[in-house]
């Protein structure tokens, strides 16, 4: 599970499943439940799905980047640096989640979502970015760097 291409494939499948859950299923649910002042439901759902997809692709790229970095032959000799790199990617993931949420809020600035819905949006974007990165790297980091995501 930690060796290529299996970790790449499983991560891709995991991202796909999450995307189906959050973009399709949850997106459909939100389309039915979110109160929209001016936006069309379809526009909201489509935009939401695009943003989730963007988050998912970027989250996937973060994980793939880590896999690639972790599987380089030289990485084992610089695990401290690898730890800093993982932290950087994690923070980038967090920033992505916030950024995508901000993008959603800007695009639907005329809408008034509930606090719960804001939390849900952030949760979904987090699930695709930093949480996804964390879980994926926790379970499927190349063996050389498998301990890094667990922290010390």
């Amino acid at each position: 599970m930690r060796s290529a291409p299996l970790n790449y494939l499983i991560t891709f499948v995991l991202a796909g499943l999450l995307w189906v859950l959050t973009a399709l299923i949850l997106g459909g649910y939100l389309g039915n439940t979110v109160a929209l002042t001016v936006a069309y439901v379809e526009d909201f759902v489509q935009t939401y799905r695009i943003l989730v997809s963007v988050a998912a692709v970027l989250g996937l790229l973060l994980a793939f980047w880590w896999y690639y970095y972790g599987s380089r032959p030289t990485t084992v000799g610089e695990l401290d640096r690898a730890g800093r790199f993982w932290t950087t990617l994690f923070i980038v993931g967090l920033a992505l989640a916030v950024g995508v949420l901000v993008a959603l809020l800007i695009l639907f600035r005329e809408e008034s979502f509930t606090v719960g819905q804001y939390a849900l949006f952030f949760g979904v974007f987090s699930l695709h970015t930093w949480l996804f990165f964390w879980i994926s790297t926790l379970l499927m980091s190349p063996r050389t760097v498998q301990t890094i995501p667990w922290g010390r």
Partner: protein, 428 residues
């Protein structure tokens, strides 16, 4: 556990792509289109539809008052009669025109006798010339033929009521249309049916001194339009003085509908099609206010519409969980309508007291059956309740009432549809 050597990446990739496509297909389809079979063409003015073979019954008012038209030099009346037959022949390849003289009674005449209408003797036949009973003529109008009555429309109140009732029964209720074409003609003679007694009148070279006469037309609306178009080639015939009372008034229309910002229980969905709208009622919600703008392209010869008398007719079908046939519904109600030129600003109140499900509505905005249609201004201009030698000498007795009653009869019989739209509502 799988090892890299045991898996086939291409197979996995193919499966993923399939799943992705299926997932997209499953989510992107949206709602099925509404099941209403009607469309906007059902309410728009039909230009086509009149057969190429036509039978026209031409009724000529042979009462004494009409002789003044024939006697005046440069009579438009006579020119109109002269061109009428040729206009009919020009508009239809296969025509059959029958001529009638009417007054108290109706008598069929031949073409040669019709052509004697330019002579004063034509209007002095015993039993014909004393009074004008148009209702007796209307009795002869029916589906499959066009009736044209050339008259000065001098009627008293009782005549009007009877005549309108006849038109309503024999024309409007038979899905036929009525047209009123007003023409101004030089006149020199006596006017007999005025409430204040007969008086003599002679027009001058001043166009405003011309005395109007009318061609009342009954028959299929498309045929009447064709006939009007054919007559329109004559310089003295204008659409501006033609009124067509048909069950269709609108050449085209557009409806824009949206929910108000404060209707939080409603979410709008993308329009499924032209003049079609979709909304979601959020869980626990019941509805909200919809605002619309309806732009009407009313036919030029059609009566105007009274926005204050507009009515909304709504039908509803349940699409899920169980499909039902359409029934009248008051889920959608017209709250207000305001007219600005050809634009109607309307507001609807939508309330859905039903459980979760998918509903579709067909909403028709109709002219009100009482006062819904408004005669054009020229009718009032040409009308007088008491024409005398000194007041309104060249105006038509009770024309306004006649046309208004006729429009009222048309409205009550047809309830003309001004616009229609569908509304798909899903309650989650």
């Amino acid at each position: 556990m799988l090892t890299p050597s045991l898996i086939r990446p291409r197979s996995i990739l193919s499966a993923l792509v399939c799943a992705f496509v299926l997932a997209l297909g499953g989510c992107g389809g949206g709602e099925a289109p509404s099941s209403w079979t009607t469309d906007s063409a059902d309410i728009l003015v039909e230009r086509a539809g009149c057969t190429d073979s036509i039978r026209v019954d031409l009724f000529l008012d042979a009462t004494s008052s009409m002789s003044g038209y024939a006697a005046a030099p440069g009579s438009v009346y006579l020119q109109f009669l002269d061109n009428l037959e040729s206009a009919i022949s020009g508009a239809w390849g296969d025509d059959s025109v029958r001529f009638y003289k009417f007054g108290t009674t109706v008598r069929r005449i031949d073409r040669d006798e019709f052509r004697t209408a330019r002579e004063a003797a034509f209007y002095r036949e015993r039993g014909i010339f004393t009074t004008t009973n148009i209702d007796a003529v209307i009795d002869r109008v029916g589906p499959g033929r066009v009736g044209v009555i050339v008259t000065d429309l001098f009627q008293d109140d009782g005549d009007i009521n009877v005549m309108v009732a006849e038109v309503k029964e024999h024309v409007f209720q038979e899905n036929l249309a009525a047209g009123v074409l007003a023409l101004g003609s030089p006149f020199a003679g006596r006017i007999y049916d005025a409430p204040g007694g007969p008086y003599d009148y002679a027009s001058t070279s001043d166009p405003s001194s011309l005395r109007p006469f009318y061609a009342l037309m009954f028959g299929d609306a498309a045929c009447l339009r064709r006939l009007n178009d054919a007559l329109g080639s004559q310089p003295f015939v204008s659409d501006e003085h033609f009124l067509l009372l048909d069950r269709r008034l609108i050449e085209d229309y557009t409806v824009a509908l949206d929910k108000t910002r404060d209707s939080q229980e409603l979410n709008r969905r993308a329009s499924p099609g032209e003049n079609a709208f979709a909304f979601d009622v959020r869980p626990e919600g019941e509805g909200g206010t919809l605002e619309g703008v309806i732009v009407l392209d009313r036919e030029a010869v059609a009566p105007d519409v009274n926005a204050a008398r507009l009515g909304l007719e709504v039908f509803r079908k349940v699409r899920s969980p169980q499909t039902t046939d359409s029934v009248r519904s008051d889920d959608l109600r017209l709250r207000s309508a305001e007219r600005r030129g050809d634009t109607l600003a309307v507001a609807f109140e939508y309330t859905l007291g039903e459980a979760e499900g998918r509903y579709t509505y067909l909403a028709r905005l109709r002219a009100g059956d009482i006062g819904g249609l408004v005669p054009p201004a020229w009718v009032q201009d040409l009308s007088s309740t008491n024409p005398t030698a000194t007041q309104d000498p060249n105006k038509t007795l009770n024309l306004e009432k006649f046309v208004a009653d006729l429009a009222q009869a048309a409205a009550s019989a047809h309830r003309p549809v001004l616009a229609q739209f569908t509304l798909d509502v899903t309650k989650r």
